[in-house]
């Protein structure tokens, strides 16, 4: 090696060292800035999570605090004398006589008897306003069910009207000017007297869980809407699950990969983004107007929601099927299983947790859906609890909408209570999806 080369190498070593030192210096100078950026990013993240959590907390506290009063109801205890001459003067015990008797008068008279000094017609009417219009109905029910009660004095716990329920709960109080509230000072005094006599009681609101909708807030319940939702969901599940899974299996396992299947795939994804009210219009035009299916029925509601849920289920199912490792398919094929056997014995069972999760999420979406159901008449005021999928019905979110729209003040609490019940179902369904996923998760 010549000296010249040696020197050159030495000098190049020199420059290399210098360059390394420079690079190291550059890294060191930048470090502080990099860490600062990371710290800032973390702060933003924590802030975002905090805002989201705060929103949820506010939402839940508002709903729960305004909904809780709906879970109690105020009743008045009255000893009603079921006199023979008032109900069934001829003693026939004929059903129509029993139904048509004037129970209103009976109940009103009993209440008036508590205040013998109230004589003026107007005062009398103001006094009986304490009672709910459902009170007479409750007495009627009892008598029709058991005619032997006639001639006895029976103790009833009758609902008070919504305004007095709110007075009892302190929502209506004397702070408001008398002209601005629906309960007069006189009525308040009577009510207080009744309370002093121990006739007023507050208990768990069973009416809310056993009745359907009503014009009278104290008689309105959530059961009708719950049953409506249940029937609708059953129809939706029965339609969308098999159709969705079949479509996904065909597209994923059997269909050739060509332009046509690509177009189908794109369209399914597009379908998931179609506004739900469009599905409602479609249901109105096709199912009700063309096929003549009953309006306001869970059958049609379920069909419309099934259309809406299908893309969700298909997309989730395809993702779940894709996630099954090809080695499992190869193993089964290599043993001589037919393609159908590969799918039914191996791929589908392994994909099932994912498919179920997708289905439940789709169903939860459908449960909370309002707009398409408005289109097909499930927004009607229905006082009967539906007994099947062709009975007129409404569903929980529509019930929330209807109550939120009602002017009576007592519906405010009921709206929140209905939201709580809807949210309970949704949380339950999402929890179920998580549990299923955890339980059937497999490693391979």
């Amino acid at each position: 090696m010549t000296d010249a080369v040696m020197t050159e190498m030495q000098s190049s070593n020199q420059t290399r060292r210098e360059r390394a030192a420079n690079a190291s210096e550059a890294v060191r100078r930048g470090l502080k800035k990099r860490y600062a950026a990371e710290a800032r990013f973390r702060a933003y993240g924590i802030g975002a999570v905090g805002i989201a959590l705060a929103c949820i907390v506010v939402l839940f506290t508002t709903i729960i605090s305004s909904g809780l009063p709906a879970f109690t109801e105020t009743t008045i205890t009255l000893n009603v004398e079921l006199k023979q001459e008032d109900i069934d003067p001829e003693g026939t015990r004929d059903a129509s006589t029993l139904i048509n008797a004037n129970y209103r008068k009976l109940v009103f008279d009993t209440l008036r008897a508590e205040f013998p000094d109230v004589t003026k017609r107007r005062d009398k009417r103001a006094l009986t306003a304490i009672l709910s219009s459902g009170a007479a109905y409750q007495v009627q029910q009892a008598v029709v069910e058991d005619p032997s009660l006639i001639g006895q004095t029976v103790t009833f716990e009758l609902p008070v009207s919504a305004d007095f329920d709110l007075y009892e709960k302190g929502v209506i109080n004397k702070k408001t000017a008398e002209a601005d509230r629906r309960v007069s000072d006189q009525q308040m005094a009577w009510f207080d007297t009744l309370e002093e006599r121990g006739l007023i009681e507050t208990g768990f609101n069973t009416t809310f869980f056993t009745h359907a909708d009503s014009r009278e807030p104290e008689l309105a319940g959530i059961l009708g809407a719950t049953m409506g939702s249940l029937f609708t969901m059953l129809v939706t599940l029965a339609l969308s699950f098999p159709i969705g899974v079949c479509a996904a299996v065909y597209l994923e396992e059997f269909a050739p990969k060509n332009r046509l299947t690509q177009i189908i795939e794109v369209n399914i994804n597009n379908l998931a983004a179609v506004p739900s009210i469009v599905f409602g219009l479609l249901g109105l035009a096709v199912f009700i107007n063309f096929f003549g299916l009953p309006r306001s029925a869970p059958l049609v509601g379920g069909m419309v929601l099934a259309l809406m849920t299908l893309p969700t289920i298909i997309i989730a199912s395809r993702a779940a099927l894709k996630a099954v490792p090809p080695s499992i398919r190869e193993a089964a094929l290599g043993l001589g299983a037919s393609r159908m056997q590969v799918v039914t014995h191996h791929v589908l069972p392994l994909a099932m947790p994912g498919i179920l999760t997708g289905t439940i999420i789709g169903m939860a979406q459908a449960l909370g859906e309002t707009a398409p159901l408005l289109m097909i008449g499930m927004v009607a005021f229905i006082v009967d609890i539906p007994g099947g999928i062709t009975d007129p019905a409404t569903v929980l979110p529509v019930q929330v909408y209807l109550w939120a729209d009602s002017p009576e003040r007592a519906f405010v609490a009921r709206t929140s209570a209905a939201i709580m019940i809807l949210l309970t179902f949704l949380i339950f369904m999402n929890a179920l999806a998580v549990v299923l996923r955890k339980k059937f998760e497999r490693r391979w």
């Binding site: 499992i328 398919r329 193993a331 290599g334 001589g336 497999r442 490693r443």
Partner: protein, 274 residues
């Protein structure tokens, strides 16, 4: 390098060993070409596979040895763009002609894959599955017997006989691969194809599988793809060397490794490429 080299397959005229006199051709393949879309992966492969022998397919990555193996039980059918040309006969019947159903073919020609792939089910169910779908056994007793026999043949019985209900995926890698071999045996195939069965295993597990392959030779015809030339030398009677989609050379394993006829074989086994 897409040239078709038909004349490069040199059949080594080995001195006929005593056992070779009775050997019969199981697979008779002539002019096998495989295409993946436009790309040709195999060029006119002529290869015979003899009964009750282990035939090893060796060659560098991408040379087409796995592709060839997968034509033998039509596993290539599952790939949409894959086309196969040429004659592939199993006991004189062309397996691509339609005279034999693919499900039936795969019952006769079992397969063991590179990565152990037991079903995520119990050990028992893994083995019982094949016989059950083919209707080989229906009664519980018959299936019990097949499970036990298959596990014994795969020399796994002693290790798992007390825990047949445990998931097959909970076994060690080597045990899983033997379970897959037992699963293939349970269908009572005539041929077992093995696609690099030891590449995911440690040396000890590999040794056990190799022993097992040697034992299975008495009852089955075995075709094994391997990257390890030592393995080919240890387990096989005949070796076929593939290169870039051509079958370069095929012959007695001993001959291939000691006196290869083709320069490329020479280069490969001495480690110059691959």
């Amino acid at each position: 390098m897409g040239e078709v080299n038909m004349n490069n397959a040199v059949e080594v005229t080995a001195p006929v060993a005593s056992s070779d006199a009775a050997r019969e051709t199981k697979f008779h393949t002539r002019g096998v070409q495989v295409f993946y879309g436009e790309k040709q992966a195999l060029f006119d492969v002529d290869l015979d596979i003899y009964e009750n022998e282990v035939t090893a397919l060796i060659g560098p990555s991408g040379c087409g040895k796995s592709t060839y193996l997968r034509t033998l039980n039509r596993m290539n059918d599952t790939i949409d763009i894959c086309r196969v040309k040429g004659a592939i006969e199993l006991d004189g019947t062309d397996i691509y002609s339609g005279s034999i159903d693919v499900v039936h073919l795969r019952a006769r020609v079992g397969m063991v894959f590179q990565k152990p792939n037991p079903f995520p089910k119990s050990i028992y169910e893994n083995i019982a599955y094949g016989p059950r779908i083919h209707g080989i056994a229906t009664s519980k007793d018959d299936i019990d017997r097949i499970v036990e026999e298959s596990l014994i043949k795969a020399s796994l019985w002693e290790e798992v006989k007390d825990r047949l209900d445990e998931p097959g995926t909970g076994l060690s890698g080597g045990q899983q691969q033997r379970l897959c071999i037992a699963r293939a045996i349970a269908v009572q195939p005539e041929v077992i194809l093995m696609d690099e069965p030891c590449s995911a295993l440690d040396p000890i597990a590999t040794a056990r599988i190799e022993e097992l392959i040697d034992e299975l030779r008495d009852n089955f015809t075995i075709v094994i793809v391997t990257h390890s030339m030592q393995q080919a030398a240890r387990v096989s009677q005949r070796t076929a060397f593939f290169h870039l989609g051509d079958l370069v050379e095929v012959g007695e394993t001993g001959k291939i490794f000691t006196t290869p006829q083709d320069q490329r074989t020479q280069d490969y086994i001495t480690g110059r490429f691959g």
